[in-house]
Symmetry: C2
């Protein structure tokens, strides 16, 4: 556990030219629905559509000139793959992205558009293929979360929100492997020890709740969830100790509440997020994280990778009633 | 023409406790699509979902205690009706809203929810009915745009954007009767004479383009448009002279470009607006307002009153390609 606020501040300076300083939006219109003072960190407005660029950029910028010349490999069809591809394009570095055969054409096109080489394989083999490519080419693998340089990059968003509103007393963060909440919680607790940090994960895949109870990373059963960016089955071994030490609780959010959160943010907050990001709002709608009217609560809206077609699943969702 | 920056500054102080200081969002992700530095004034995040609360609140707060006791009347099923209803609720004043028989239930419910009395009539008679109610009850009519106190209220958004980014050199404003662009342009030209102000209206209802050519308010033919908040057929007589004096040009935007602008803002900017508000983005997409890469352009996103069902009309729209 060597990640501290120093690495996160260094990451902030390093990645500053490449990322968007996203707004922290005070959304008064949502207060009556969520029962607190609502602040939304709009990482859905980040370049490449998600916070992932912060960590990927920090990891890649920490490589030597020689390592950069030998290229980067990543295995992800989602926000991480987009972030690595974009970072490499910005830096003039060769990127190879390993995608499953089943990848949606729109995602493949976005990655190809930014100039990455694409290697396809069966979904079960993608990490193996990525490792083999790295060995063959002497390239560097950029992992999605289980790495302290990645966590330091994600943590920069924590510095930002506490500068944007130092009075925040609760921050709720969508969680999968733990790279985001790990880095964020180190940053937040360093500058504001009194601010509580909560994780929100799909009830279908409660890997952190289960692991924190067990005191070690636990593998949960593979299940489907609308939160398609939060499907890791086990916490990262590097991330877990930080999450165990620096966070204040976890909420396991039902699918219906995730979609309600997404619809509430869109229709009343006017902000489009991906289902995974709405997990933090769903956690409060479902009553899993207690909040008071005077609480200043930051909902960390991690990304906006969603198609117009996916919005149709919100048609039949009820946001819920005001008091 | 007695409206000056003084009245707008006074309006700002008067309405400050009741309105949201909406963000001016720097949307780098949209720069490649629009060919300039993109700033979005997010009045879709205003209380009641549109800028209209600014003008309505200023008009109502300028009434005497006696006038307030005798109640307020307005004729609008849209953003103006919602704004008047909400303002009256905040101030404990009786509101009567005249609605057409054909009003959508969702709009009627929203107005009733905030405690307004509803009077229904044929759409062609609504202004007559509103006038009669005012005479019978000695109440005050709050008009939607053709009034200097309304314009002063809307103008407060102009002060805000120039404080939020004093370097803005172009501002593009969706236009119907002219209350918004009238007030905004007085404010902007007073504090920053070098900033150009453009209006954007549906090509189906080009009342300002036609009127500015004629040098006086001209009635245009009634036609359908997706921009359902921009359907006034003739400029307001009070608004017109301000618009003629203080604005730098008008764009008549095709329906397809309005919808493209809306889809671009939603899918790439992650912000939900109503079709009318996307007229300003459509104007640049269609090439009607020339912009340079170094221009700092504010797109005034006036409101977000749109249903999820209405988003389905975006399914088949192409945003357009990047260079």
């Amino acid at each position: 556990m060597s990640l501290t606020i120093s690495e996160i501040k260094a990451a902030r300076d390093l990645i500053a030219p490449y990322i968007v300083h996203t707004p922290l939006l005070r959304m008064k219109n949502l207060d009556p629905y969520l029962g607190c003072e609502v602040y939304v960190k709009a990482e859905c407005m980040q370049t490449t559509g998600a916070f992932k660029l912060r960590g990927a950029m920090n990891r890649i910028l920490s490589l030597s000139e020689k390592e950069l010349q030998r290229g980067i490999v990543a295995a992800s069809s989602g926000n991480h793959g987009k972030a690595v591809t974009y970072a490499c394009k910005m830096l003039g570095v060769r990127a190879t992205i390993v995608l499953p055969d089943t990848v949606a054409k729109i995602k493949e096109d976005a990655i190809r558009k930014w100039g990455a080489e694409i290697v396809k394989c069966d979904v079960s083999e993608r990490f193996e293929v990525a490792d083999r490519l790295c060995r063959e080419r002497n390239s560097t693998l950029v992992p999605p979360f289980n790495d302290e340089a990645i966590m330091a990059g994600q943590g920069t968003a924590g510095l930002e929100i506490m500068e944007q509103c130092p009075e925040l007393n609760k921050v709720i963060v969508p969680t999968s492997g733990g790279g985001l909440i790990g880095g964020l919680s180190v940053a937040i607790k360093s500058v504001s020890p009194g601010t509580a940090v909560f994780g929100a994960e799909p009830a279908a895949l409660p890997r952190y709740s289960a692991s924190l109870r067990a005191g070690k990373p636990v593998l949960v059963e593979k299940r489907r969830t609308v939160a398609d960016a939060l499907v890791t089955q086990i916490p990262g071994t590097v991330c877990f100790p930080y999450v165990a030490q620096y966070t204040d609780g976890f909420a396991d959010v039902d699918e219906a509440y995730i979609l309600r959160g997404m619809k509430l943010l869109l229709m009343e907050g006017k902000l489009l997020c991906e289902p995974s990001s709405a997990t933090c709002i769903g956690a409060v709608l479902q009553g899993l994280i207690p909040v008071k009217q005077t609480d200043k609560v930051c909902f960390f809206v991690s990304g906006g990778s969603v198609s117009l077609e996916q919005l149709h699943q919100l048609d039949s969702i009820e946001i819920g009633h005001l008091d």
